[in-house]
Amino acid sequence: MAPAQRPDNTLSGGPSPWLPQKGTVVSRQRQTHDVITLGLEVPGTFSYHPGQFNMLYVHGVGEVPISISGHRTAENGHTVVFHTIKVVGNVTQALARLKKGESLGIRGPYGSAWPIETFAGNDLVLIAGGIGLAPLRPLFLHVLEHREAFGNVFLLYGARTPADIVFRRDLEQWRKRFDINIEVTVDHAWAGWYGNVGVVTKLVARAPFDPVHAVCYICGPEIMMWFTVQTLRERGVPDTNVFLSMERNMKCAIGFCGHCQYGPEFICKDGPVFPLPKIWKYLRIREL
């Protein structure tokens, strides 16, 4: 007997949610020795919310989730979606080798977004570690566009070394503005680096935001996010104003494959962006 409850979004006869569409590489921008930003042109408009991700497929190699780091509208009316990719495995390596004009598979956008609309008037603190700046970049661009809607705005960024800083050109541009606070730190420095040295939590501890009215958006390695949360708590930022972007192995991005489970949460559809209270108790459980 057929199932009793028939959902409204029945896809009977329609395209499979597993099927990607074709995207074309229209730009390649090397960020660091192992990070590259690909501009992928997709037909028509592509709407997404900052914090969401796409599944990118390289012909015959595989498919990986990559957060959306920005977009622009091309002259032909199509959309160029940017993905900033760190080479960590065979699929990301194949992605990084794609040349201009080559095509790949793209499907999305998937997942939850950084909540921003409800926080007009608050101080905003974006805290990123390493490649974690990528999913925060569209949020930051949104904030710049609607700058007057918010209180003080901070971008606190930590990279391993000066050579690992991504979006260097953006950071240099943004630093010229007087209405935002940008701090960059590196774990290890060398001669010629005149900036901060140390973990990003040091920046969090001393940034002059109003803790009670600050909203914090964090993306980086789990251990960095954990210590950042500790610092935010010490400063008195309410947990409900803290949002984190999580990462797990993912094969489908549509809640079927089961790989991305994190406690009861599916990172692909309940996340990747979570309010801290929702995942707080799982952050320190090993091998979850």
Binding site: M1, A2, P3, A4, Q5, R6, P7, N9, T10, L11, S12, G13, G14, P15, S16, P17, W18, L19, P20, Q21, K22, T24, Y57, H59, G60, V61, G62, E63, K86, V88, G89, E102, S103, L104, G105, E247, R248, N249, K251, C252, I254, G255, F256, C257, G258, H259, Q261, G263, P264, F266, K269, I285, R286, E287, L288
Partner: protein
């Protein structure tokens, strides 16, 4: 209103199968393969394991011939119906390299119209659990949907229980309560089958058959069969407050103890009728011009399952068993509004180490209580 119930003579069971066949259904039913009961395509009642029963225990499975010619005198087969609704291997799409870049192509295939013959109450509950996963979330799996919507379900109420059965603890059996087209109970004389109608399609099939309406005495007899089965079920899983309890057990030392026995082979996940995890395989031809993406069943017991840059997240056997058990009995409820366990007992039978989740839950409870007692004293 009472469901419509009829009596069909045992010798006319073949007519029921042929009626389904004539309606274009491929029959999937119980057979014997490799000395186990196995759901597979059948042609007639000849393929049935007539008179056979199964003896199951932790890490044990034996077939035995009975002195009665029962059609359904066993409990559950080694495999599950999910093999037919959620195929173990499935081509998702092809990617072709052309002059204009790569092109994606969805395979066109005819979806088999299946009649599932002999679905047990716990198995029916499992199908309904998978319905929630594949049909009632944000995304719908079109392959599952197409197979599921066409499927005809002939349920069978259990006339016997295995030592591994615990459907009564989970309220899923041994009698099928809804979701079937027809539900059958083999009456003790071995000559009559009581058939209850659960859908219009079921009603139509019944019209083809030499049946007569069931009398109250027949219904009582069928009820007695169920009660007799219930009395055979000894295994228990206490579900009250279980979710809350398990959420507090991430650091329970008992996980280390299970890990000493668990081989992380993944058998429990493959025989589980609700487990839905899958992975994908990318393969290409020698020229590299044609690539295919296949979906295959996966198990959370494999190391690759949680592979992230730098390595797997759940490296220890402890973490993998903990994930599996907590998923079945706790996190599943938050995800899909139901338990991920239906009490069929397969994971107990097919565990080469005989690990029994009902027993592991009790051990977790014992240890947790001991710690509470320690804290008090």
């Amino acid at each position: 209103m009472e469901p419509k119930a009829y009596i069909l003579a045992r010798e006319s069971f073949e007519a029921l199968l042929q009626s389904l066949k004539s309606r274009g259904y491929t029959l999937i039913g119980p057979t014997i393969r490799d000395d186990v009961l196995w759901y597979a395509e059948i042609q007639s009642v000849e393929d049935f394991p007539i008179g056979w029963t199964d003896v199951q225990g932790p890490g044990q499975y034996r077939l035995q011939k009975q002195d009665r010619d029962t059609l359904f005198g066993f409990t559950v087969a080694a495999n599950t119906w999910k093999s037919f609704l959620f195929p173990p291997r499935l081509l998702l799409w092809r990617s072709k390299r052309t002059e204009n870049g790569i092109e994606f192509e969805q395979p066109t295939r005819s979806i088999p119209k299946l009649a599932l013959i002999g679905v047990r109450a716990c198995e029916l509950a499992a199908i309904q659990v998978q319905d929630r996963v594949f049909l009632q979330q944000e995304f719908v799996d079109p392959e599952y949907q197409a197979r599921r919507e066409q499927a005809f379900i002939l349920a069978v109420n259990c006339g016997t229980a295995a030592a591994t059965c615990f459907c009564t603890s989970l309220g899923t059996g041994p009698k099928a309560s809804n979701g079937y087209d027809l539900a059958l109970t083999e009456l003790p004389d071995g000559k009559r089958l009581l058939i209850e109608v659960g859908s219009e399609q079921g009603d139509e099939v019944i019209q083809d058959l030499p049946v007569h309406p069931a009398k109250p005495a027949d219904l009582q007899e069928a009820e007695q069969v169920i009660q007799n089965t219930v009395s055979q079920i000894t295994r228990e899983l206490q579900t009250e407050g279980l979710q809350t309890f398990l959420y507090a057990q991430y650091e329970n030392p008992h996980w280390d103890e299970v890990a000493k026995r668990c081989l992380t082979c993944g058998n429990c996940t493959l025989v589980c009728p609700t487990c839905f995890c899958s992975t994908v395989e990318d393969r290409s031809d020698l020229s590299g011009d044609l690539a295919e993406r296949w979906r295959t069943w996966d198990s959370c017991f494999s190391l690759e399952f949680t592979y992230l840059h730098g390595g797997p997240i759940r490296t220890s056997a402890k973490a993998r068993y903990r994930h599996w058990l907590l998923h079945k009995l706790a996190t599943w409820i938050d995800q899909f509004g139901t338990l991920g366990c239906v009490g069929c007992g397969r994971c107990i039978t097919w565990c080469p180490a005989g690990i029994d989740l009902t027993e592991e839950v009790r051990s977790l409870q014992r240890l947790a209580h001991r710690e509470v007692d320690h804290a008090k004293s």
